[in-house]
Subunit: 306 residues, 2 copies
Amino acid sequence: MSHVYERVALIGLGLIAGSMGLAMKAHGLAGEVVGTARSKDTRDVAVGLGLCDRVTETAAEAAKDADLVVLAVPVGAMGAIAAEIAPHLKPGATVTDVGSVKKHVVEAVSPHLPDTVHFVPGHPLAGTEHSGPHAGFATLFENRWCLLITDAGCEAGAVANLRALWEGMGANVEEMDADHHDLVLAVTSHTPHLIAYTMVGVADDLRRVTDSEVIKYSAAGFRDFTRIAASDPTMWRDVFLTNKEATLEILGRFTEELFALQRAIRTGDGEQLFDYFTRTRAIRRGIIEAGQDTEAPDFGRGTSRK
Amino acid sequence: MSHVYERVALIGLGLIAGSMGLAMKAHGLAGEVVGTARSKDTRDVAVGLGLCDRVTETAAEAAKDADLVVLAVPVGAMGAIAAEIAPHLKPGATVTDVGSVKKHVVEAVSPHLPDTVHFVPGHPLAGTEHSGPHAGFATLFENRWCLLITDAGCEAGAVANLRALWEGMGANVEEMDADHHDLVLAVTSHTPHLIAYTMVGVADDLRRVTDSEVIKYSAAGFRDFTRIAASDPTMWRDVFLTNKEATLEILGRFTEELFALQRAIRTGDGEQLFDYFTRTRAIRRGIIEAGQDTEAPDFGRGTSRK
Ligand SMILES: NC(=O)c1ccc[n+]([C@@H]2O[C@H](COP(=O)([O-])OP(=O)(O)OC[C@H]3O[C@@H](n4cnc5c(N)ncnc54)[C@H](OP(=O)(O)O)[C@@H]3O)[C@@H](O)[C@H]2O)c1
Ligand SMILES: NC(=O)c1ccc[n+]([C@@H]2O[C@H](COP(=O)([O-])OP(=O)(O)OC[C@H]3O[C@@H](n4cnc5c(N)ncnc54)[C@H](OP(=O)(O)O)[C@@H]3O)[C@@H](O)[C@H]2O)c1
C-alpha cells in the first residue's frame, strides 16, 4: 500500500501509540514515524521495540515537519501538549488524538492550534488492561471501531486521509459529534469501568476479613471485574474528571436501577428479578450477532472443550 | 480409576449435572449414572448426548438405589426435590447438591432427609453463561474449586468419597461452613452478577436513545458485563432470594464506595480517584499469581498478537 502520510509523529508511546506505530509499519502506511514520550526510558524502549523509526526528546521536535501528529497521552495532558507543539506545526498538517473522552479534548486542544492545520479528534475503541510501550501490538485495531469527531468545519480531505490510515490499520471508522461520543462511551465504557473499580475496592476491603479467599475463589464472576479494573489509573482518573457530566448521568440511572433490584431482593420479589434478568439477556444476543464478542462460553478462556 | 460410587443419580440435567455426567464417564468414576430432569425434552437430549446412562421420569425413581444423589436444580427447587426423594433413599447413601447458595440449601434440604443418609452440600465454582443439557462439557471442573460444606456431624467416609469424586473430575476441593461460603460468594459472584445485570439494564434503556450504538461499541468494557448478565434468570433469581442477607450486606458496602467515588468525580478530586484505581490493581495481580486467570490481555480474545 502507498503511504497515507509521509511523516507521522506519535506524541506518547504507550499501548495505543505503540500499536499504531507497529500497525503503520506492518501495512506500510507512513513514510517515517517519529515518536516521543515523557521519559527517556519509554523512548529507549520504543526504539528497541521498533514502535517508531526514531525518537525525539520533545513533542515540539517530533511535531515539526509531520503531516500527521497523533496525541496519544492521557486526556488530561492533551492541552499542554497542544500548546507546546502549536508553533511548530507544518501548515496543512493534520492533528488528531486517541483520547477516550472527546468534548474535553476538543475544548482543551482546539484553542491552541493555528488555523493552518486540521484538527480531527479520534478514538479507537480498542485496548487491553495493559499499558506502556511494551503493551503495544500491530493487530490491536483489527476489526475494532475507530470513531472520528467531525463537524461541518472539517476539511474533507483531512478526514479522508485519517480514515484511510485507520482503515489501513484494520479498523472500521465511523464519524459522530463529541457530545454524542461522550454519552455513548459513558454507557459502554466509562461507567462499567467505575463500577468494576468499585466492586474490586469492596472486595479488597473484605479480603482482610476473608483472608485471601476472595482471590482464590474469584473465578465465579469477580475475576472479570478485576481485569477491567486493572487498567491504568492515570488514564481513568482523567477520563472521569473530563467526562464528568455523562458519567454522573449514567451513574445516577445505574444507582436508581440498582436500588430497585435491591428492594426486590429485600422484599423477596422474585418475579421482578426474573423479568429483569430475562430482559438483559437480549442485549447479549445483540452483541454476539453484531460480531462484538465470541459466543464461546467463558470467553473461551481456561479449560478447553474436548 | 476404579469407581468411587456404584450408582450416581443426577437430579436435573443442565450445565452442571451434564458436565458431571460427562466427566464421570470420561474418568470412569461411577458404575452407572442415572439422570432425571423436569421436562421430557431435557431427558431425551441427555440420553442423546450421553450425559447419563439412562433417565427416569421422576426424581424418586432416579434416587432409588443410588449411592450418591446429586441435586443439580435451581436453589429454590432443592427443598421440594429433597421431600420427593427422601422416602426412596437407600440407607448409607450420600446426598449432595451443587447449588450456588449453601445456607438456604442446608435449611431447605436437611429436614427432609432420613438419618440413614449423609448430606454433604457442595458447590463447584465452575460454570459458563450458558445453561441447559447442551451446555455441559467434560472438562468444566478441571482446575476449578469445589467447596464442600462440612461440620462436626459429617461422616468422614462420606466426605472422603465425595472429595474423591470431585478430584477425579479435576477439581480442587476445600471444606468450609455454609455461612462463610455465602459471604465469600456474595463478594466473588453474587454481587458482581447483580451489578452486571443492572449495568446491562441501564444500557438497555439507553439503547432506545442511542439506537444500537451501545451494542455496536460494546467492546470497550460493557461487553464483559453482558456476558456475566447472560446467565440463567431462574438460577440467579433463586440465588438472590436465598442469599439475601449477604448480598444486601455487600451491596450496601458497594453503594457506599460508589457514592464516595461519585463524589470525587463531582468535586474533581483526581487524587482520590487515582489512589483508588491504584489500590485495586494489586488484587488483579493476586488473582493472576493464584492462577485464577490468564494474564493475556483482553482474555486473549479477539485478534491475536503476531
Ligand atoms: N488503554 C486503552 O484501553 C485505551 C483505548 C483507547 C484510547 N485510549 C486513550 O489513549 C491515550 C493513551 O493511552 P495508552 O493506553 O496508550 O496509555 P499508556 O500506555 O499509559 O501511554 C501513555 C503515554 O503518554 C505519556 N504521558 C503520560 N502522561 C504524560 C504527560 N503528562 N505529558 C506527556 N506525556 C505523558 C507516557 O509517557 P511515559 O511512558 O514516558 O510516562 C506514555 O508514553 C489516552 O488518552 C487514553 O484515554 C486508551
Ligand atoms: N451455571 C453456573 O454457572 C453454576 C455454577 C455453579 C453452581 N450452579 C448451580 O447448579 C445448579 C444447576 O445449575 P445449572 O447451571 O446446571 O442449571 P441449568 O443448566 O439451567 O439446569 C437446571 C436443571 O434443573 C431442572 N429444573 C429446573 N427447575 C426445576 C424445578 N423447579 N424442579 C425440578 N427440576 C428443575 C431443569 O430441568 P429442565 O431442563 O427439564 O427444565 C434442568 O435440568 C443451580 O443450583 C445453580 O445455582 C450453577
